[in-house]
């Protein structure tokens, strides 16, 4: 009885380690420069459309509403201290440091990561990947690499758009609705936001999230059981694991950057 559970634990551990190893090999294989004949750029552009452009609507709409809610909540708290002029600072710093990178990464994991996993899983189930191999085309170069690069390019841009739209949304509610002075809104924001401290650190965060999300999504899809149940499990695992990884890594990076 006891030995059985030890065996089960060992099997799980081995399976986990093997999965991590396959994920590493997948990334290595995708990053290895492709041989002659593989044109990466057109493939990346196609994937930028799927991963980036099609995520734009959800990012812009969520950014707008999160900025507006932040502004509304911040105003009701700050006005109690007579400090409602600092609204711009509060909205901009919370968006640039935390909410922009994290929320856009969570949305990206749900919108683009799950789609990547499902697409690659289905390619595997319908043996498209094997047919590529049969035609002497490396699926890592043809399928995985362009999706990986597209994810890495898209997410930091999406996070920047998210923060920018959120600040405009905060301005909309704070200045145009609640009557905070527009000059004070921008001036206090500008004096408190630092280029290297806040914006670059936020960009580093979203770059790390981009690597993690696309890596998990591609690995889960490439490693999926080639059945409909397997694809559904892999898609769920992508969203759950990348969301947890985002939140965990965010704490670690925040502690390192602002701690």
């Amino acid at each position: 009885m006891l030995s059985n559970s030890i065996v089960a634990l060992g099997q799980q551990g081995l399976a986990y380690m093997a999965g991590a190893g396959r994920a590493g090999l997948l990334l290595l294989g995708a990053l290895k420069p492709a041989g002659r004949g593989t044109k990466l750029l057109p493939l990346i552009i196609k994937q930028l459309y799927v991963v980036g452009v099609q995520s734009l609507v959800i990012i812009v709409v969520s950014g707008l509403f999160i900025g507006m809610v932040l502004s509304l909540q911040g105003y009701t708290i700050l006005v109690g201290y007579g400090a409602e002029q600092s609204l711009g600072q509060m909205v901009a710093l919370s968006l640039l440091r935390e909410l922009g990178p994290v929320v856009s990464a969570l949305l990206f994991a749900g919108r683009a990561g799950s789609a990547l996993t499902a697409e690659i899983g289905l390619m595997k189930a319908t043996e498209q990947l094997s047919s590529l191999e049969m035609m002497a085309i490396d699926p890592l170069h043809q399928i995985i690499a362009p999706r990986f690069w597209a994810g890495i390019i898209s997410l930091p841009l999406l996070a920047a758009i998210f923060s920018a739209v959120g600040i405009l949304g905060g301005h909309l509610v704070g200045v145009d609705w609640l009557g905070v002075d527009t000059g004070a809104f921008w001036a206090i924001m500008q004096s408190s936001v630092e280029w290297s401290e806040d914006i670059v650190n936020g960009a580093i965060k979203s770059l790390v999230f981009a690597v993690v999300i696309t890596w998990i999504a591609l690995h889960k899809g490439y490693d999926a059981q080639p059945t409909s149940e397997g694809i559904s499990k892999a898609t769920t695992a992508t969203v759950v694991q990348s969301s947890l990884a985002i939140l965990g890594l965010d704490f670690v990076m925040t502690a390192l950057m602002f701690g």
Binding site: Y49, A92, L96, L157, A160, I167, V193, I199
Partner: protein, 156 residues
Amino acid sequence: MISRKIEVMVGGFLLLGIAAILMLMLKVADHQMGGSETSYRLYAKFDNVGGLKVRSAIKVGGVVVGRVTDISLDNEDFSPVVTMDISSEFNQFPETSSVAILTSGLLGEQFIGLTPGFIDEEENTILAAGDHIEDTRSAMVLEDLIGQFLYGNNDE
């Protein structure tokens, strides 16, 4: 092959992303483009720096001329030494200038106020890099003020 529509959309997406970064950079952070500003370094010894922080502003008549880059303790007489980087644009402060730690508003953040002194015609007494400003006034500590107030009242 990729259709033209997709290429245009991707180009638009990249442009939008770059525009967002530029907006954050110029409008939100008010980041100055090009040319790292040159500065020179001055030191000042205070009795008490209060709530002064690294990166606090140094102002002359309300205009920011530099930033505090370091606050350390002199190991011999145990008084805090503030290192200040002043923009090279403003390099004509006489040696008789004084610095004081001021507070913006009653509970606002603290900054260094630099008051330029008179210029001695006979000697060349412009503050240069590495100089110490001798005439300093320490931070106002609210607790000390309250203590003095109470003590003063008891005295009468």
